[in-house]
Subunit: 334 residues, 2 copies
DNA sequence: TTGAAAGCGCTAACAT
DNA sequence: ATGTTAGCGCTTTCAA
């Protein structure tokens, strides 16, 4: 087994080209140089198969390149698509992406942000779980953050600094309203809503959409886990057999609703109409195929990454449209 | 807007503690120091909220910490779970994880590896797409690699160096055999197999399991995309209406098979029995619920990450068991 | 246009 | 046990 050979450095290139290291650096980063020098340097670099060390550059510039991405759960298809969008944008900039999963837990999120700081990463796309208490210091430490999918809860003292954070969001409000209107149009009056704690914005949109008819008991929150999703769904269905329609705030809650309904022998769409947020590939395979509010997950990620790269003057918040896709999981109230 | 304050460095800590920087470094990395000194340093570090800069350390040590992870497609639930396993192991070591998606394309994979080298990352968990031509040089460059889910195609000259690469795999061979035996037990004789180009090992296992009865036309390969999966499934079903059972090499091919069957009005399990590799959450929601060969995806990721961290003496290859989970997508031949 | 040199924050070799 | 110092590879003044 041969020992790994020493890395080629800028010094080697300078030597071979017969110029100073500064010149090599300039040429390679597109600075000015005479045509002849440029050619000599490029030649030498090619001949030695030189790849500049990110380590040296990073230390010098006091920042590591790359984008950090914080999501609650990478196995959730929605966040996976979002991540895919970030990756695809980052790739076009040639930037590596570091991923962290927060489990929707503010504490883990804080840890992760701490380690980003330790790495001197200064660009983050985050689906935030914590509140302003956590993000404000990070912002002050020079981190440039773009929120995706949701923004942070309003924290009393921090509004100003948090308002500065750009965000790329799906149009929750319109999505929820459309879904609720669709269901009421079918005659449904008792509509349940299953959502995560982190989806407070959707909950509020739901309350607003339902208006006077609101029954607070039908808005049920769940924690981030699959188990908690199932518990919430089964709980609602058992406690309130009078609900005739359910809207879920994400796909795992939708999955839970289907499972719980099956378990309790509640037939979809005969006994219960179901609309799920997020159009995952399996929605179509389900029996019956699920009616969904589609969100442009990959686009959200892409745009967020773009924003965090551009850093310059930019729009405060980007809202991307959702779309109701009617399949077979809803029927008239009976 | 206040300008981001200068980072606290080891020098600041040394000064406040009244010791040299080396002492600070030693104390913080668990070296020897008198109890009193240790306390003074720790105090100072706490007071200043000092976090050592990974940049400095990395440059000094000529390697950035962290684990790189290369997967074909992060939106595929299998790889997402695998990634989750890697992330979870990495977290226990406090190491960041950099993800790249290869799209199962050797060229993109080579690019990605190049950029890892540029970052001086030296630990990679990879689901390889390219062949030995690509990995051998990386290995020689000092990268320590662990393959997950599959290993690299045998490349003529490279066998020795590639044989050194540890791998964590699901027991494909047993999984395929069990599935095939289950289907033949139900009376099926014409069994189709849908697999990716990258899943050649499973194809071979399938050929071996079927034995004499093998009809090469029933083994159909697909490229990495969803479209290609669908085309392969629909193609097989149309070309060979005599197949009574299909095994798919991954979940996207399973999805494609369900969709294609529905489109062609082939009923599952009445007209066609289906077994899918990989137990994704939606397999149970499908109508009928899908019989699957479950793989410990998250475990594969976790173990691979562990191997790449431990670097020491290690087993060559870890094979993890699969499990046939019988649900409702298979029936007797009719 | 080009080169020399400083210095980013850290660790390890060496000296005390 | 602790301090001093060199140096990792790069970019960026500054001077020529």
């Amino acid at each position: 087994m041969s020992s790994p050979q020493r890395r080629t450095t800028i010094k080697d290139v300078a030597e071979l080209a017969g110029v100073g290291v500064a010149t090599v650096s300039r040429v390679l980063s597109g600075g000015s140089a005479s045509a002849e020098t440029r050619e000599r340097v490029l030649d030498a670099a090619t001949k030695l198969d030189y790849r500049p060390s990110a380590l040296g550059r990073n230390l010098r510039q006091q920042r590591s390149g790359g984008i950090a991405l914080l999501v609650p759960d990478i196995t959730d298809n929605f966040y996976a698509r979002l991540a895919d969008g970030v990756l695809s944008c980052a790739r076009s900039y040639g930037e590596p992406v570091t991923i962290g999963v927060t489990g929707d837990d503010p504490e883990q999120e804080a840890d992760l942000v701490g380690s980003l700081l330790e790495q001197s990463m200064d660009r983050v796309v985050a689906v935030p779980s914590g509140d302003g208490e956590m993000w404000a210091p990070a912002l002050r430490a020079g981190l440039s953050v773009v929120f995706a999918d949701r923004r942070v809860w309003r924290a009393p003292g921090q509004q100003r600094v948090l308002a500065e954070v750009p965000a790329v969001l799906a149009d929750d409000r319109a999505g929820v309203r459309t879904a609720v209107e669709y269901l009421t149009g079918l005659g449904h009056r008792k509509i349940g809503f299953l959502a995560r704690h982190g989806q407070s914005h959707r909950m509020q949109a739901f309350r607003d959409a339902v208006g006077d008819a609101l029954d607070e008991e039908l808005v049920v929150p769940a924690r981030a886990s699959r188990d908690s999703a199932y518990a919430a769904a089964a709980g609602l269905l058992q406690r309130r057999p009078d609900v005739t329609a359910v809207l879920t705030g994400d796909n795992m809650l939708g999955e839970a609703a289907v499972l719980a309904a099956r378990e309790l022998d509640v037939r979809i769409p005969r006994d219960l109409s179901l609309v799920m947020f997020d159009d995952v590939p399996w929605a179509e395979l389900c029996a019956p195929p699920l009616t969904v509010v589609a969100q442009p997950a990959q686009d959200i990620g892409y745009r967020a990454a773009e924003l965090v790269m551009r850093q310059g003057r930019r729009p405060r918040t980007v809202t991307l449209p959702t779309q109701l896709i009617v399949r077979g999981s809803c029927g008239p109230r009976r």
